[in-house]
Amino acid sequence: MATGHEAATSAPNAGEYVLHHLGNLNSSGHPQTSMVDFSIINYDTVFFSAALGVIGLFLLWRVARVATSGVPGRAQAALEILIEMVGNQAKAIVHNEQSRKFVAPLALTVFVWVFLMNSMDFLPVDLLPFLWQTITGNPHAYLRVVPTADLNGTLGLSVGVLLLCFFYNIKIKGLGGWIHELFTAPFGNHPLLYLPNFVMQLIEFTAKTVSHGMRLFGNMYAGELLFLLIALMGMAFPSMSPFGGSLLWLGHLVTGTLWALFHIFIVVLQAFIFMMLTLVYLGQAHESH
């Protein structure tokens, strides 16, 4: 960057590098500029989330297909532990036998899927983008590999949960019952309170959904950014004096390791929290105020 040599090889500077990594491979061909644009779709997020979902569920299905009530194999035992964990949480939160038939597998799906999507963070930040650029032959091709670091990915999940909440609200309380609740809870049944109640309910649903999606997104986005910044340290290695470059390279090694280790914790925890909140919100849909 400081030398003319760097500019000549058209290596990206730090800002370009990070921004390039934060650009999705979408149908418009360049990073989206307006905040909301439903004519654009992110191919990479859809592809990686669907692929991870299919792979994860295929593995689970492989195990479940040959499940035996006799002595279980290791894979089955592991899956059983997972299912018992999710099943117990579902039992504690959703008090409806019939709904649990769908809600508990849903929670399992959320946990496994979010965990797998979060885990894409552990791949080196440049590995898949570099492969993609090599395959397409376009050195500027965009690709983001972590679907949960894309707001669409996480909000898609939380909006899905919101829709299911609506579904269960209507199913359990009936359409009339639910509308009645929308206008009479939480403050009480009085004509003057109808509007405040409804506004409160709207705020509650919005806040739930946005915080549900934003929580996962924020964690993964910050994690991805930190990995990018750490990668910048290592990348600066050739363009600096040997001493400073070595220090930066060492810094990349140490901080990268530490952050990756801490990120393992975050990945599992956030997947678990996402699952728990899904259960809690769906459980709330079953309870009348």
Partner: protein, 156 residues
């Protein structure tokens, strides 16, 4: 930070995956778990039953043992008592027998003695008479002293 149609795709994928899990992943495992739980509880109940019957059998055998011991002890005590009784009876019998023998011997001896005395009495009288005859041959007349002699004879 940009929203677009990916959101809708994500919702669709989400619901499809959840439905797949509900249909193909969750039920077999839960079924296996339930079956195993049933099997294990059955096995535990079986073990409990086995343990109970074992305890019962042990109790039973201990009781039989105790009964047997009691019976044996009883028998021994009875036998000892019987033996004592027999010995006692034998002793009594022996004493009676001995007394009988002694009594018989005594009476025999007494009879003998009486007979001896009788015969001796006669002989003594004879002897005395004979001796007195010899002494008194000359001085006394047998007729004169017959009265006295009869008195002596009576005294003997």
């Amino acid at each position: 930070m940009y929203l677009n149609a990916t959101l809708l795709a994500q919702i669709t994928v989400f619901i499809i995956l959840a439905l797949f899990t509900m249909k193909y992943v969750w039920p077999p495992i839960v079924k296996a778990l339930d079956e195993r739980a049933a099997k294990i509880s059955e096995g535990l109940a079986e073990a409990e039953r086995g343990r109970q019957s074992l305890a019962l059998a042990a109790k039973h055998s201990a009781e039989t043992m105790r009964e047997g011991k009691e019976k044996v002890a009883d028998m021994i005590a009875q036998a000892e008592k019987r033996a004592d009784q027999i010995i006692e009876e034998a002793k009594v019998q022996a004493r009676i027998e001995a007394e009988k023998v002694v009594a018989a011997a005594k009476s025999e001896i007494e009879q003998e003695a009486a007979r001896m005395r009788e015969s001796l009495r006669g002989r003594v009288a004879d002897l005395a008479v004979a001796g007195a005859e010899k002494i008194l041959r000359r001085e006394v007349d047998a007729k004169a002293h017959a009265e006295m002699l009869a008195a002596i004879k009576q005294d003997l």
